[in-house]
Symmetry: C3
Subunit: 349 residues, 3 copies
């Protein structure tokens, strides 16, 4: 269950630089490609001639040429030409609104007339020399909403990420969840704690001592359709915590773009944007590698959870206070999905 | 189709010594673990909080702590605690009667009120210094009843196990099948034959000549729900056969605990208990390795048979005299399964 | 959808020389074996005793002996013997008409009373010292009719086989399609073109210059149920093309026997018969290796096409003039399938 009238991250730009990319997003089989350098197009991955996969074709002079019989397809889904054929009557295939922005390829799988690139979630750290970004992509066999739950409640770090970012204080510290329209925020502030290994490494990387107590924070933001951006950081204890002076803290934004593939599988575009030492590429690589290991730990847990939920579909789950972030985020999703359903007419007497 | 009010072998003790074990038994997804050394517990592998797999958790002070959010589960399926939560109202999950006995972990997947450990089939060779035991576990993609058929008719040894325990005399010698309540016995006695390779090796291992005729026997015992224990041996010919003096024979019990996983897959706990040279561990290892090879030969045959039966579900099979052991054993199973069905009330006129 | 009253290529002789072969043809699970050298038999792969796969058995004195309990099966599907059993009443299993001819094993999966080996398609190049043949087998996850389409329209060579046999002139040259009863012929003649790499190699192999213009032809013949034989060749330009003197041309027959496995998978027996330098075995091997690479390129395209058609089952495809060969061939198939359906009685008023 996912809203279709929404911008989802579909790919990273490098994935379509060399050749067309076949990827299923929200149950739609789509081919992504570059008609020209810097441009991007997205079409149904179905040649109107005989149903071949257009993603096996090649781009020639701006058209996607089918690798079977040479039908040349335009970015709008209209056949441009085919050797020896008049193509005016060829059925149009579906094209999808698609935009390259903030370092991602974004696609809209719903009503194209409602797709406005201005509504793509602003990523202030993109294209900003004060920030550095590194990330990756995981394909996970679970409903993307299980990942929303996971990210909107970081209590799990204590148990799933024991050796990196987990620490006992996380699940001892209560969280606060606030909802502002479609924006859900779950916050946790831990004062006077020792930083876990991941953060100690970052403190050292930033030239700060790693053996002193810190104030640690986690502020999780859910935005539709399924973006979770998490402000995380530690400051030397007593310097103001979240509001401490930049020189006394290490701070980043964990970025999570959760894109449904099917009802029970997803594309997980994860990453981290930081605003300290942005020019240090080896630090970027080191953080990304560490994050890759941490986020892989979630995969096993969520895939086993999905198998359980599929095996016991009617079983009800608990909704505790720590789950409030996920519960509230799912309510936003439910509302968006409901709004997309055809309206039921009231039966008149 | 399997009785659920029965004790099945679920695991060997070493499988749960290090960490919890996820295993499906009779269609139930179960986690087996040790709350304390020497103890064993079995629960639904489903955390009542969000449906995570408890088998990914860890045991802490006797409780199974969920690896997702730290819910601590008791052996009775009641949540003991969870950080920051009152757990009194948490729904109970199912716990399964489970016992460690005779070198196995036994589980009861039916009505717990009827589970009496006294009814676990007695294995007289276990915990007995006069006996030695070695065995293993195979996961096989077939209805466990195909394995019952296989073991209650050893005619197949001539064809499936040509190079180890098979010999022409097996299928030339008629079998006798007797039924005593739920106990089915199929016997075959072959006098004055040359021992096949497996038994020649055992004769040598026991210090007996391997180049003389022997009297060979196979007495297969089926006990509910699906245990097949086979007395097998050879004695120097003319010394009394099955009843020969221990110094003139090599004798063991092939042990087969057949545990349904699903309708078309099973766990096969196979082994051999012998009462000669019980202290010779290298002999135990040698026998187990030989048996592992022999029993692996059955796997290919039974999995192909299962694929055939699944492809032709309505096709009727033959029931010959050699099949009597399997047929009678299946009748016992059918009776036990029928007894578990809710009773149909007679319609009154 | 496939006719069952037809001779299909089931195997190559070497596949059954060593031991029985299990192969599904037209949804029938069949075991092929040699009761004696030079003979061939085909039976349901199902032992009438307990449903074991007969293909796991061995041939003993002309009978297929089941590898489970030693039932000996005759080529007619009647049980011949079984140790200790009277087999007169055993149910007969199905036997399939099967013939070894022209270097292939042919099977008939329909009404056996209508199977006449005289109707096996004549392969004039087989057993003919003036010809050489090499080929192979691919298992492909697609409806065999997608391969019929593929082969009856070679336009795709320009796009799928760019580096071997494809050339731009193919899809610039119109094709002619003719239907004569159940025989469909699609022809394309390209005059004064440069030969593509595959043909340049063959020209060199035949001692002809490879750097001069040639006249090239492709004449595709569809015969029921699903044989596609393609006359292909190049002649030095202006020497008469298709009708040129043998010394001025390189000519072969691409042989394609398309055997349905299931509705969406097939066995592809591909090969090439040539009538130049028939004694040169290294040339035969070289051509076969080249063809193996070329035909493997089709596999990815067709399997992706099948996945698309399965995902969009109701979507209509185009039928262009280049598709006429496939369309006409499918009409022949449709007619044959319809003729096999039980006749509907007209409802009388």
């Amino acid at each position: 269950m996912f809203p279709k009238n929404a911008w989802y991250v579909a790919a990273t730009p490098d994935e379509i630089d060399e050749k067309p990319l076949a990827r299923t997003i929200c149950n739609e089989k789509i081919v992504f490609y570059r008609p020209a350098p810097g441009q991007v197009a997205a079409l149904e991955d179905f040649c109107p001639h005989r149903g071949a996969a257009l993603s096996l074709g090649t781009v020639v002079e701006g058209q996607l040429v089918c690798g079977y019989h040479g039908l040349a397809m335009g970015c709008d889904g209209k056949t441009v030409s085919m050797p020896g054929q008049r193509v005016a009557g060829f059925p149009k295939i579906r094209s999808f609104p698609v935009v390259e922005k903030y370092g991602f390829i974004w696609v809209w799988t719903g009503d194209a007339s409602r797709a406005d690139p201005a509504n793509i979630h602003v990523l202030e750290w993109a294209d900003n020399p004060k920030w550095a970004y590194g990330g990756g992509l995981y394909h996970i066999q679970c409903d993307y909403r299980l990942m929303v739950d996971n990210l909107m409640d970081l209590t799990h770090e204590t148990y799933v990420h024991t050796t990196s970012i987990g620490q006992k204080e996380i699940d001892e510290t209560p969280v606060t969840t606030k909802v502002d329209g479609d924006h859900v925020v779950t916050s946790r502030f831990m004062d006077q704690v020792m930083a876990p290994p991941f953060w100690r490494a970052n403190l050292r990387g930033a030239g700060l001592p790693d053996d002193q107590p810190v104030d640690r924070w986690q502020v999780c933001h859910f935005h539709p359709p399924s973006h979770v951006l998490i402000e995380v950081g530690v400051a030397l204890a007593g310097r103001g915590g979240y509001h401490a002076d930049p020189k006394d803290k290490v701070y980043s934004v964990v970025t999570d773009f959760l894109t449904p593939e099917t009802e029970t599988s997803m594309w997980y575009f994860w990453g981290m944007a930081r605003n300290f030492m942005p020019g240090d590429k080896s630090l970027t690589a080191q953080i990304r590698d560490g994050q890759a290991k941490v986020f892989a730990e979630d995969t096993a847990v969520l895939e086993a959870q999905q198998r359980n939920l599929s095996a016991w579909p009617s079983r009800r789950l608990l909704m505790l206070n720590i789950d409030a972030g996920g519960v509230q985020s799912r309510r936003v999703i439910d509302r968006l999905v409901a709004a997309e359903q055809p309206r039921q007419e009231t039966l008149a007497a």
